[in-house]
Structures are given as structure tokens and as C-alpha cells.
Amino acid sequence: MADAFAAVETRGLTKRFRGGQLAVDHLDLTVPAGTVFGFLGPNGSGKTTTIRMLMGLIEPTSGTAQVLGRRMPDAARTVLPQVGALIEGPAPYAFRSGRDNLLRYDAADPTADPRTRAARVDAALERVGLGAAAGKKAKAYSLGMKQRLGLAAALLRPRRLLVLDEPTNGLDPQGMREIRALIRELAQDGRTVFLSSHLLDEIEQVCTHAAVMARGRLVVQGPVAELAARAQDRIAVTTPDAGDAARILKEHGVTGLTVTEDRVTGEPPPGDRDPAELNAALVHAGVRVRAFGLERGTLEDAFVALTGEGFDVAG
């Protein structure tokens, strides 16, 4: 139910760290309420810094951030009880049990009802599958279990917004599947989920909307389907005459060519020309074509097309 209300809205949000590092640069982000919003970007692109500003942990250098319609960090006291957050990995008290950890975090929330505390803690532990390990000290937890404990802390109370910073970090494939299933489940009650990740397939699997960050800037945001559609299909030709094929394709307006030993790929020429004509042209020129086809664009292609670079760490 994506209505007009924005669960998160930033305008010109900027963070320059004291060292001079510009971590977030004039970010205009709109997260429609009720969406599962993927916040995608390579390592160091400013995802966690943005989340810290949204949660009132760090002060923006300039710009504004609104969460659930209220200005942060000023409205932290009223907004944050309605927000569950996992920020840059879990951080339990190592020498306390999982249950004690949740009791402590719940006691820190002045709006949490102490009479229902124990019951809510147990329910949250069950929900993330930690029921059996609740009495174990957190230092004996695996990374995946700590990650789950962090999620449980975010689920201690009914939340309107969940902010999850790389919640599947450090999990095995089975754990990833479980957490993603849990996230989809959580999103079903109309809750907004803001999920940061550097994993494209995670965003494609889980999210309805996404924003892409690169070097502190917002590259694009919108429904995932639209973003993926931006990724152009590519023409792919398998041939022993790769050099000739590339020349002919270029003459016919194909751009962005990449040539390997026996394979040429490129973006189709603009306009509605039937790709079959390209094939005909290749054959006509005597290029021996083993296979000719179109490859579907993925979010990853979209990302590469949008940022003009690979999915690597910015300096």
C-alpha cells in the first residue's frame, strides 16, 4: 500500500566527516510508506552514514531528514520507539544472555511497557528462531545468531518502520534465505522496510523499491521493476569471427561492444529495428554465426549502466 506518505524523506542530506571525507552528498531520498525499499550501494558509498543520520546518531552537515513525517534528530524521542533498527551489524553485550540483551534494550525505551517486557522479549526471540539459545551468553553466539538477536531487538515492539543495515551480512546461504523470508513476512503487515545491502540479487529478491548510491550520491531511485527495465537487453553473438562481427555490428549502430575470443555483446542500436536484421547483415558479410540472441538486462547491468562503473569500492 504505497500511499503518498513517505516513511523516510531526505532533502539535500549531506555528511562531511571531520577528516574532510564527503560520505553523503546532497541526498534526496523518498521511501514511500509500505514499501520494501532497497538501499543499494558498494562498500563505502554512504549507506550506513545515511542510516546513522536518519536515526539521529550523527548530525547532518547540511540538509534535512524526516522519518515517519517528523524531523530527525529533533523528534527522536517520538519517532524512534516506532522504528526498529539494525545498524552496521549487531552489537550485543557479550557477557549477557540473548534474553538479557533484549531486556536491556527494551528497558532503554522509555515508552515500552515493563509489564509486557518479558513476554515481548520471548516472542521476539521465537520470531527470529533464537528461542532455544535465549539463555546462552551472546559471546557464544555465531555471527548469524548475533544478527538474529539484532533483528529480535528491532522486533521488540510493533514498528511502523524497520531500518535494516545489511541484515544478511555474515550469514550462510540457508541463514540468508531465512532472514529474507522473515523480512518479506514482516513487510506483509504494511510495515515499511528500509533495507541496505551491497548485494544486488538480495534487493531483486526482496524489495519492491530501490535506490542506488555511489560515492555518497544518489544515482537513481524507484520501483525495482522500473530500474531493472532500464537495463537494456544486450545483443550477444557467438562466432569464430569475433573481430569481423564486432566491425559489422558497429557499422549497424551497435554500441558498448565487448569482444572476447568467440563472443561479441553490445547494446542494440536505438530505434525499433528488428535484431534479426543485424543477424542477416552478419551472415551477409560472411560472418559465421553460431548463436545469435538477446540477453535480458538485470539490476546489475542497470547499475553498471547508471554508474558507468563496476560494483567496486570507491576510494
Binding site: 546513522r52 546518531l57 550523527i58 548530525e59 552496521e88 522509555p110 515508552t111 511497557d113 510493533p158
Partner: protein
Amino acid sequence: MSPGDITTERPPPRVAATLGLLRSELGLTFRRLRTFALLGVLAAIPVLIGGVVRIETGGDPSAGSGSGGGADGGGPAFMAQISNNGLFLVFTALAATLPFFLPLTVGVVAGDAIAGEASAGTLRYLLVAPAGRTRLLLVKYASTLAFCLAATLTVAVSGLVTGALLFPVGDLTTISGTRIDYSEGLWRALLIALAVALSLVGFAALGLFVSTLTSSGIAAMAGTVGLLVTVQILTTIPQLDAVHPYLFSHHWLSFADLMREPVLWENLYANLRLQGFYALLFGSAAWARFAGKDISA
């Protein structure tokens, strides 16, 4: 989704919520191995002193000097009386631990208060809970003060028990030379323990302030203890006489005045004023620092 779907629960009154966080904080401080270790060391000191005195005097009450008058420093005068009356072990142990061991343990706890949570990463989760920065700082200070009291009482109780086991107990002679009975002596001992605990209030605030400066628990503890050592060295340099009245330890030995008859309150009050001044100054500094601090650990 209705925006109000969390209102099925009733939030507790603000004061109750803060007391809940304080209880959680006290649980965290006092159910911790490190706290047991610190208190254990403090408890051992009166036992050590008592043991040494017992061996030196061979358990013979008359071996100690009977006169309590003429001493202004507290420590040695009390020490000489232990073999006459075990209760003096309480005063001696407090006098022996107050200059360094007691504030050392307080420095560890206060220095770690905020910085320790920051380096463990738990601080960010407390703040998004949201604990509230001012509230969290107040609760941290309150639990540090609770530790000051617990540490002082540990020394006092250990001294009381050791003294009663190793030496005779009974009526005692005050520094002014008058006699008071044992129950009056116990009252004085309790008052002295409170006076010693209150002597640590200023230093605890200083430690809390240092704790807001860094996100390394170890650095904050080392910094706080370093300040303690520095100040205690400064007090021994006569050329710095002009500065001495402003050092947090200046009136620390005023607790001995509670063993006079009648009690001399002047220095005790001066100590309270000084501690209050430190608490206010460094409490505000800690708040100013912490309220606007970027939490990026």
C-alpha cells in the same frame, strides 16, 4: 497499517521508565566480573592491613600507642589504635584506600561508562531504543555513584569484620581524646564511610566526562586514572600551593574530623562544596559533549 498500532500498550510514566533503565544499568554494573574483581581487591586491603598489624603487635593490645591525640593526618593515628580497638581498622583502611585504590576503581567504572558502550557498539542501540542522551548520561552517573558507595562500603565492612575478628572491640578514644562507646563508634564509622563515598563524587563526574571524549573504553579508563595520578602528584608539590584548594582531592582526609569530639564540620562541608562544584562542572561538560556527539562507532 494504522499509524497508531503501537498504542495498544500503555507507556509507563517517565520517572518509572528512567528507574527501569537505572535498574538495568545497576544490573549491568554489579553483575559483572570486573566489578567483583575490583571490589574483591578493595575488600582484601583491610585484611592485609589487619594482618600486618596483628603480626607486628603479636596480638598484644598494649603494644599499640594508647594516645589518639595530636595526629592531624588520620591514617597513622588510626593505625596505632587498631590493636586496641578493631573498629579503627575501618578508619585506617578508608584512609589508606582513599588516596589511590578507591578512586582507581571509580576511575575504571566511570571512564568505561559511555566509552565502553561506544566501543562495544551497544551505545548506538541504546540511543535508537531511544534511551535519550541526557537520560542515559544521568543513569550512567547515578550507577557510577552507586559504585562509589558500594566500593567504600566494601572497604568499611571488610575492615569492620577483620577488625572484630583480629582485635578486641569496645569503647574507643576519639582524636580529641574523649571516650565514646562502641555503638557510637559504629555510627561514626558509617558516617565516615558516607563522607568517603561523597569524596568520590567529583572524580566520578570527571571520569564520566573523559568517557564522553573517546569511543575507546580502555583509553577513557587510562585517561581517567592518569588524571588521578597527576592530581595526586600535584598535591605533593609545595610550589603549587595556590592550586591545591581547587584539586578534587584537597579535602579528602577531612573525614577524620568525624572522629573528633565535637565533630569539626568545616572541612567536611568544604569537601562537599568542592565535590558538588566538580560534579556540576564536569557533569555539564559531559552533557555538552555527549548531547551533540556524533555516534559513529
